[in-house]
Amino acid sequence: MKGSPLAAVLCAPGTNRDADVSFALQQAGATPISYLMTDLVSQPSRIDDADIIVIAGGFSYADALGAGRLFAVELEDSIGERISAAIADCRPVIGICNGFQTLVRMGILPGADCVAALGHNEAGVFDCRWVEMEPISKKCIWTRHLTENITCPIAHGEGRFTADSSTLSSLLKNDQVALRYVNVNPNGSVDNIAGVCDSSGVVLGLMPHPENHVVARQHPQFHRGNSGGLGLSLFREGVKYVNN
């Protein structure tokens, strides 16, 4: 055990699940610190101290020009190279919901030669409901030791993962499909993909919100005596990876 890794939670104006993910990181043993876009522009080097980089969910810049698009431009412009260096240095990165959309727009996920996007949900509307995800990737440092499915809510309007056929086959071949929806595919994502990792396995992006299932009582079937896999386990994997 190496203590509590520093998790930088990146927030744009409109990011709104930063507090939720900070709570989850704390419960997983990390020390979360929120960085606003203004901090990152004025002091970009602060990100270099982070052991874990987290891009939190929400509606960055109101998603006014499409989900994650402006956050991606802003991050690329301010700390793009530093994020690349962190990835090269095997420091774990996770983007949840709007963070996933941002990583895809930055070209970090699924990767440089890939063509992928998160489109409007098949039903055409924002949807909030609980889903179950199966951890698939043995390469992704966030999922490879997980044995139990994760249950947690989705809350998004643009979460339909889509990719061109060569990207899709390379994701499958390279073990980059990190998480798949089981039972219900809530948004029409291709191949039930809920989350993908980069080719190195240290960067994970996913649409559902594991940070909203940190304690058992948060499960919607709590009153029926039922439970499901905690989203907390995902964050614990990230912390464990840093500490080992």
């Binding site: 709104n16 909030c128 940190v214 919607p220 029926r224």
Partner: protein
Amino acid sequence: MSSNGVVHRLEIRSFGSDPRAGALLRDACDLGIASIDAISVVDVYFIHGVLDSKQRVVLEKILIDVLLQQASWGPPTTDCDHFVETALHAGVTDGASQQLLRIASRLGICVEAVTTAKRLEINGALRHGELDLLVRKLLANPVIEYSSVDSFIIPIVPRESETTARQVRIVPIGLNATDEQLQKLNSERGLALDIEELRAVRDHYRGLGARDIELEAIAQTWSEHCAHKTFRASITNDSGEVLRSLIDQLRDTTQAINAPFVVSSFVGNAGVISFVDGTTIALKCETHNHPSAVEPFGGANTGVGGVIRDVLGASHMPIACTNILCFGPPDTNGSDLPDGVFHPRRIRAGVVAGIADYGNKIGLPTIAGAVLYDRGYTANPLVYAGCIGVAEGEYVVATPQPGDRVVVLGGRTGRDGLRGATFSSMTMDATTGDVAGASVQIGDPITEKLLIDVLGRGQHLFRAITDCGAGGLSSAIGEMAEGVGASVELSGLPLKYPGLSPWEIWLSEAQERMVVAVRDVKPLKEACRIYGVECTDIGEFTGDGRLVVHNNGEVIFDLDTDFLHNGRPQRMMKAIMPSPRRTKMDRTEFESQFGDIDIVSSLQQLLQHPNISSKEAIIHRYDHEIRGATLVRPLVGVKSDGHADGVVLAEPLDTHGIAIGIGVNPWFGEQDPERMALAVVDEAIRNVVAVGADPDKVALLDNFSWGDPRRETTLGQLVAAVDGCCRAALAFSAPFVSGKDSLNNEYFGSDGERHSVPPTLVVTAVAHVPDANATVTPDLKNPSNVLLVLGHTSCEFGASHLAKVLNVSGSAVVPEFDASAPARYRVLHGVIRAGLIRSCHDVSEGGIGVAVAEMAIGGRLGVDMSDCDNASDAQWLFSESNGRFVVEVERKNVSEILALFTDASCVLGTVTENDSLVFAQGCEVSVNELWNIWKVQQ
């Protein structure tokens, strides 16, 4: 660099089907237009400025995703049968254009302005007049946008030279102006003041004439919306009795209850309570009815934004939102709609999208609510938006001190919502949508989110705070300056666009702004800089009691705050009290009115009534999970598709929480407003008790949406309802801590008839949940458990849903208040705390029959009621008597629990694994079948 008028037109088309197109097709069908084969939507960006090809590629890369969309630059082409292009009026919040402008500048691309537009391409053989109908009722709303049919739109950009700021004028008011002259002034300027008030204004100005901006401010401060004239009026009833004002009746009741958990009631922006030492809770519910009628998305959207600011204005951090929505029947025939009225489904879609947009983006869970349908809401939909906030430490009400700075935080000022306060106090007519043009805005939740972030950094940043709601700065600063006085300068305020007159700036209802009184501006400015929030110091609280406004140094407004706030003469009103039927019908009368009732088919009809059927489609649109504290969710049960009675919020590691419940029944209100009020207070409390709240720690909010109170019978209904509220509050020892009234919810249709909403009182209960782990949901849990009914059932079918679905229109009595209910709720709470209740559901619309069906659907389990004689009695099964629950308990605990409820309880049946509700031998129905009927959104 000037672009010399160069405008690039960029069009973006999505691959595959666009969900917006599908929604429009469905909406067109509701209007009775079936001749459309296809609609497609093209997004258009007008970029004003000279762009080279590289810059175009940069912008295009931001705006499209190659897998999902394609872009085209240059002159538009289209080969559809018809098309309509729409663009937002200048100054209407347009996040896309603001953000594109911002990012272009960030990337060093010189863009002068961006206008966004939409093209709706229509294919199909439209009949004569159908295109016009489509445009008016569906495709373009002139309240917020302009449009062009079958020709490409030309974007309008406001420029300084095109608008000339109108200066302040003096309106002559003669010392001896007659009532007739005053009324003329009243209607010419849209002041919406009573004659007594006009005389007070005349006398105040002593013949010297009034600045127009002062008149506007007086009209706004004295409007029904802001001054609550009816609730403060002296009312004489038809027995000649002069009543204590309605607001005082409610206040007196709260004082008489003297609940230890009330911290602040009926003052300021919100009610404040405290269930746990060191933490206070602020609660508030508002209506945004008129705006939602003319621009459903924007109206509901800004309604949510406004109530969140109310909580911020009480120095609390918002944690959750609620909403209660009332619409016309979803199956309304499009051709029956009065002029200027949207189809109820169009209104519903817009309102739901508006609520979802604001709550989801600002990051607050939208957790509790209700959706009601009635013909009375067709022209006047009602939108109630509520918000709950928390604060740590002692709650102190601070007022500005002389020498404090007047600082405006947040959004920019535009021509938004001018005269919103007076507008909402006026009866609407067919042209309201046009004249109200500027009255409705689209919200900007991100700006408000940033305001929350800044204010969340601590109360050390400011001394006092007020939100800018109706009446804008005039109202906010006017309220804060009461007694102390203030002097402000408007010229430094950031504006959305040039050309605003000073009176427009002063009265603008631009959203997302707060006013704070600050001793030292520096720390606040620094916090605002970090979050990118605009912060403008516009003046000082003076101590001289006068409110003085300058524009570029010139005094444009100078009023005594005492006259502004206390100069309004009390309204004198007359009420004719309702005299509803109060005698219960006997079985013979019931049978003669209702005839032979088929239990199964009646239950099926009830479950598909839009008031009772599933609201799942709406609930999923709202993020109810953010913050991770929603413990009893609006959706419950084995498939998470059953509806909870109340919801419970509990922070993940806390042992305690709060429950929120809603009570509303306008149908009772039409018939017997006093009993309605008693019933809805009971219902709201029942809903929180059912989930595990302590019935001795319940605070209430009242929200009245009523017709024109100057009609004496309408006022009588209001008086009766307030009386009912007070009686119920006393009976439950549950104090009202805040409230709001929205009167004049009436509409003159082009048919010449006067439309009014049913008397709609919404009661919100916020209660302490002492043990978060001892909370309960209504879905059935385990086969072989036993269902009990707690409470008295009598033959009470007035305004019942059984009468609705069976089309019975005879007179019947509205359910009487059950005086034994408070004691029953306390006992039930004890049993819930002891962990003996497996599921619990309150009994309301559709009675025990519907309650059992909903519990069965939630748990996907059956119930055998064949041993309960009552279960085959339609009168017992569908009555809507107050004060009742159906609870599920383990068999071994049945006698112990029954013994606790000796006054009124019985065994209803046994939970089974069968897909069946068995009411009696040979009288049963499949739960799955009921679910299939119930789940369809009408």
